[in-house]
Symmetry: D3
Subunit: 135 residues, 6 copies
């Protein structure tokens, strides 16, 4: 269904630049499973390497936000962009990081409410209050 | 600039249904400031009351997600929907709830990365891995 | 603020292809006012002519939907696409066609509700019921 | 395919809060069929109840707009948000409320035209005419 | 899966207005294959004829941009609008017009980068530099 | 108007990590002008450095697509995402790279047409033809 070939492990083994990224994905994630997103990007080794490096930096390094919060923010953006693949993969990731049913229910309520009030504000073309502008 | 009149406090005082909501906003938020979003919705008292009730339930009641996480998820959706008003008002709210510069920087990195990978997945039309589907 | 020059009536008078469209706009609308959308498109006479012809056919000819319904559908799309210009111009057009305050309030409730449930369905990735598929 | 379980009637029968909403859906709609949207929301009983209450108020109560107009506005938003589920379910609802082939053809022409002119206005960054601003 | 019937060649043969458009599509494209987009629009002959005429003018006539550039711009918009059908059909068209793997990889990098920086600029609400405004 | 402070050159001079990126921007672009996008990102030095590195690689290195084509693709995405800042800055960049009035007119026609047909395909939920799927 993709617009490009999804690389099998056998095909990856024939391309050292791709193979190196796949090995790093497996090592960092401590799992043999490599999902289709990377198998599609394998057709573009430079983009594959750059994207994986960014994902490692942004999503996997310890930082100022906890990992579950980052996944929820990620799913929120992916939902608004109607990215079916991303919603599926990052909802699975959020569950693996401990998302509870109560947290998920509250998350859904927040994104629904946000979309509703976004629509009202954009349709009413409400001007920004001076109080909200940065000094 | 709005497509409707923004109600002043004097105008609010003439409409009991609107006045009741404005008083509740001030009581719940412990602040006299009522922002333009509510002054625009004042033209539609039923919608005003329903929206405020939902916001109270979803955003202001203690729940399974902490208040700052909910604000970040809200900003993420508002950014993807290009709602200038909502981005301004909820970034101000997040700061009031303690958003640090480091957290904001990491949040921005996550939403940028999410938008980038959403675009790649949507353009490559990558099929969802069976591993991501709910049992 | 536009990325192109907005043509004044004096400039329009120097370009017969543009002038012909502006005259038709004024004749069809029975008004001397030509809004900025057309003054921006004047830089691309072929696009100007094609767009005006389509607008006349789709929005201004009597058809199976009444003119106010078409304006509401137009505003709904423009809101979702965050087109500030279009929301402003077509909300003004809807009012000129008789949009009442009650209708506007109900319209806002519908688009807010639609955005909320769109977000829930896209985040939950709900499969389409067979009952909804066309024969 | 959903990110959550879709509840069967047997499962619904074990959860009184969910069961109460499902019974109300069936009573209000005068039909035994409950579509997947509600079966997915059943995992979050509070969100389920709140969403159904809103849908009843906004979409099903007699108001200032006729039911078919509200469905068309709903489909317009759902299309712009690329919500496949919502487009399917509300196009079916619109047909059930009497949408004719001619009305559907005209609706499609309007949303296509709106998307086209939204894109032109957003790309040209056309400033709003003072004539369109609310008093 | 469509919300309307997809017309077979036999059904097309019974409707002269539809048949005329299908014959022109085959003649212009020098191919017997007519894709589902046109088979769905066949339910609305006026919209079918108007859309095909526009596509011919915009996409198929020699102009100031080469055909492959136009396809890439088209895919970029379709990706941002999450139009699965359009991404598939126009990626196929781009390949038929000579899109190389290197060009595709670079295109993907550009749309990913654009989406990322769009998100940053929209979330930071960065004001436009006066240097970027048209004279 | 931004949600963050826009850094002046004096402030940049006090932060070596930011200063290094600003110097590289000036050197690569052979211009003293640094636009607001970078002055806003200066608040997040890691994000600033990573974003500039990506922009250099993706947009400024010679590659398989010519620089003007990349700018047009960029504007197309930015328009669909309603990023006013990005549309302004990259339309200026495209003009600096030689965008002619005829090319701009044709570009506008393509993105308008794409948005229109995206909307039709998404509303009709047209299934992808097997002919368009990658081998």
């Amino acid at each position: 269904m993709a617009t490009v070939k999804l690389w099998t492990d056998e095909e990856v083994a024939t391309a050292p630049a791709v193979q190196a990224v796949f090995e790093d994905i497996r090592a960092v994630r401590k799992s043999d499973f490599v999902n289709n997103f990377w198998r599609a990007l394998a057709n573009q080794p430079v983009l594959l390497e750059r994207t994986w490096t960014s994902v490692k930096q942004v999503m996997l390094q310890p930082g100022a936000l906890d990992p579950l919060t980052k996944e929820l923010v990620y799913i929120a953006v992916s939902t608004a962009n109607a990215c079916s693949y991303c919603v599926h993969s990052h909802t699975a990731a959020a569950r693996a990081k401990g998302l509870s049913d109560d947290q998920y229910a509250e998350f859904l309520a927040v994104i629904g409410m946000a979309a509703e009030t976004n629509t009202l504000a954009n349709s009413l073309q409400i001007p920004v209050d001076p109080e909200f502008l940065a000094g």
